[in-house]
Every structure is written in C-alpha cells, then in structure tokens.
C-alpha cells in the first residue's frame, strides 16, 4: 500500500505536499518496526496483513524523546492469494475497503493526522497512490 502525505492550507483550500520530520511506524499486535525514525518523510509504503482483514499502524512522530505523540491508522481490506506459476508461486492481492484514523494522543502535538482518503483500492508496491494522508496545517 502506497501513501502520500498532504496538508490543506485553510486560507486557500489548496492541497499541498507535506513532510514529516521524523517518523516511526510499528504494526499493532507485533513488535515489528516498519519505519524506523525516518526523516523528511513525504510518502509511505506499508504492508497489509495477510491473515486478517484489518491492519492497524501506529505512527510515532518523536520517538527518540519519548514524547507520546502518535496517531493510529486503521485499514480494512480483503485478501486473496493468487497463483502465478509453479516457479513464481503466489502473489497476494489486497483490496482496500476503508481507511480511517484514530485519535491523536495529544491535541498539541506538532504532527497530527487529520483525515484519510482512498485514491486507489488495489494495494500495490509500484508507487501507485492508494491513500492520501492529510495532516493538520501547521502554518
């Protein structure tokens, strides 16, 4: 699943690309770190779970200082295994049915996820945008 990060200028209503200074993403129900303190993040490539139809990501913005600034991203999707060939095995075809954000831990945190929009339901890793993540405008 491929996501781009945006914000909306409230005065002009213009959608502009946003950049997160430092971002760590973990997958709920596991200790896997998907993104580890990446800096200047403008887009994300995230895996979806194979065995369940809901994937939950925890986005932490200032992990090193232990400030509890984070958002939660919920993705509901369908999974279908597709046979390619005896040599190549299978591919996982995943279709996003809905996406929403959880509550931010702090209303005062610098980066705060505002809304999520689905642009393309077929999850991919080729750079085709699936989700738009809109962050609150920081002026």
């Amino acid at each position: 699943m491929y996501c781009n990060i945006y914000t909306i200028d409230p005065s002009t209503k213009e959608v502009i690309k946003d950049t997160i200074d430092t971002l760590t993403i973990t997958a709920l129900e596991t200790d896997s770190i998907i993104l580890n303190q990446d800096t200047k993040v403008t887009s994300l490539s995230l895996p979806l779970r194979y065995t369940k139809d809901t994937t939950i990501f925890v986005l932490r913005y200032n992990y090193s200082t232990k400030n509890n600034e984070m958002d939660t991203l919920y993705i509901v999707h369908k999974n279908a295994s597709y046979f390619i060939s005896m040599d190549c095995g299978y591919s996982m075809e995943q279709s996003i049915t809905s996406a929403k954000k959880g509550k931010s831990t702090r209303k005062t945190q610098k980066f705060q996820l505002d809304s999520v929009a689905i642009k393309n339901t077929d999850a991919n890793t080729d750079g085709t945008q699936n989700l738009q993540l809109f962050y609150k405008y920081r002026g």
Binding site: R49, Y50, N79, F83, I84, S85, Y90, M92
Partner: protein
C-alpha cells in the same frame, strides 16, 4: 649356357615389367576422348513441371510421438496427438491436429500441486512445401501456420502442514506474512480457462518405407487471447505448453500416406 639362361630370364622379366607399366597408359591414350564442358552437356532437369502434378495428391495421417517421449524423459506434461494432412499439388498441405494433454505435477519443495485432467485441443492450419518444384517428391521442407484452441479446467492446491510443537497449521509455506506471521490456505479446484493461439511452423518430412514417412517440426507459439480463473493463472495449457505470451514446441511424427 647358364649365363645365357640367366640373361634371357632377366630380359623376359624386364619386358613383362615394361609391358604392365607402360602398356596401360598407352592403351588409355588410345581410348581417351576429350571431355565435354559441363555447360555443353545436356542438362538434367531436377524440377518438375507443376502442370503435371494433380491438384489432389493424397491424404496423410500422422501421430505425434514427442509429447509422450518428452514425458518419459522427464517433462511434467504429457500429450498425444493425431493429425490428418491433405496434399494439394505437393505444394499446400491443409492440416488438422487433434490432441489430448494433461499434467499432474507437484512443485519441487514448494508444496504446490497443479493438475489438468486429460483435455482435448485442436489446431488447424496449412503448410507450404518449399521443395514442391523439385522432382524428388519424397522429401518435404515446409513452413506453415496454425490456429489452436483449447478449453480446460485446472486445479491448484497448496499442501498445508500441522506444527505439533506450536499446535498450529502452516497453510502456505510459499506465502508467509513476514510481519504478522501466518499464511492463508490456497485450494482452488475446477478453475475454468480457454485459450486461442497461433503457431509458426518449420518442419521436415521424409519417406522412410513405402507409404511411411517421419518428420519433425519446430513451432513458435503466440498467445492470441485467454480466459482464466479468478484465483490464479493456468500453468499448463493443453496443446500450447506453459502459459506465457509465447512458447516453443517440437513435434516428432510418424506419418502414413493413405492409398487413396
């Protein structure tokens, strides 16, 4: 006296040697005739007048042995095929090929099982004999074109395992979730598919005994269109081979010329 006999013997021997050594070339010189230059020799005609060849020159039936032979030698696919060929002026050979193909294969160390039950396929086309002008009408070098079609069902199933230590099923070792763990089972039988394709053919055929011929052909196969199942691509297509945009095929045939 003894010396005279010795001298006589020597002279006889020398005479015989000279006779055998010199006489033949002399005789040859006498019978020598000047060779006629090749361009002045009457020309042998290796070609046949096409007007003398009847339009219908006979009918052939053949059986392909390559599909069976390649399976014996280790191929995952097995097929058998019969064909009927008409000979028109020894130049054009309209052909119809009917065959059956199947496979029942387990992937090496993957647990993937792919099966196609015996399924018919058909090809129709025409060959052009590039040697039709030659007087020798027992050997053929031909190029041709085929259109092929098949409609079939295929099963793809994935072996799953039970882990007695962790007391859980490993459904698909080929597609594990690297982050959350686990896998989902894959078991789809009876997926329907059909395929249209064409083939470019190059082949040779020669008479081996009376009405019997044998020959081989090399075929470049190109997919025209295909309808496939919702949960996976077919891997083997009867009459075509591996499911891909293009494929290469071989045939080795025994052919019988019907006596009418």
């Amino acid at each position: 006296m003894e010396h005279k006999i010795y001298s006589f013997s020597i002279s006889i021997a020398v005479s015989l040697v000279l006779l055998f050594c010199i006489a033949p070339p002399l005789a040859a010189q006498e019978s020598y005739t000047k060779p006629v230059p090749k361009r002045e020799q009457p020309r042998k005609v290796p070609f046949v007048n096409p007007d003398t060849i009847p339009f219908y020159k006979g009918m052939y039936v053949g059986v392909d042995l390559y599909g069976l032979g390649s399976h014996i030698l280790g191929s995952d696919f097995i097929s058998g095929e019969v064909r009927a060929i008409a000979n028109l002026k020894n130049k054009f050979f309209p052909t119809i090929e009917l065959g059956m193909g199947k496979t029942n294969t387990w992937g090496d160390d993957t647990g993937i099982h792919y099966k196609v039950s015996p399924t018919p396929y058909i090809r129709i086309g025409i060959d052009y004999n590039t040697m039709h002008k030659k007087k020798d009408q027992d050997n053929f070098v031909y190029v041709g074109l085929r259109y092929g079609f098949t409609s079939f069902k295929y099963d793809v199933t994935q072996a799953s395992f039970y882990d007695p230590i962790w007391k859980e099923y490993i459904y698909n070792t080929e597609q594990k979730d690297d982050i959350w763990g686990g896998s989902i089972p894959y078991n789809h039988t009876g997926m329907k598919a059909s395929m249209h394709w064409f083939e470019l053919v190059f082949g040779v055929k020669t008479k081996i005994y009376k009405n019997f011929c044998m020959g081989w052909s090399l075929r470049m196969k190109y997919k025209i269109s295909a309808s496939i199942g919702n949960y996976g691509d077919p891997w083997y297509v009867p009459g075509y081979g591996k499911y891909q945009a293009h494929s290469v095929g071989l045939t080795y045939s025994l052919i019988y010329k019907l006596p009418f």
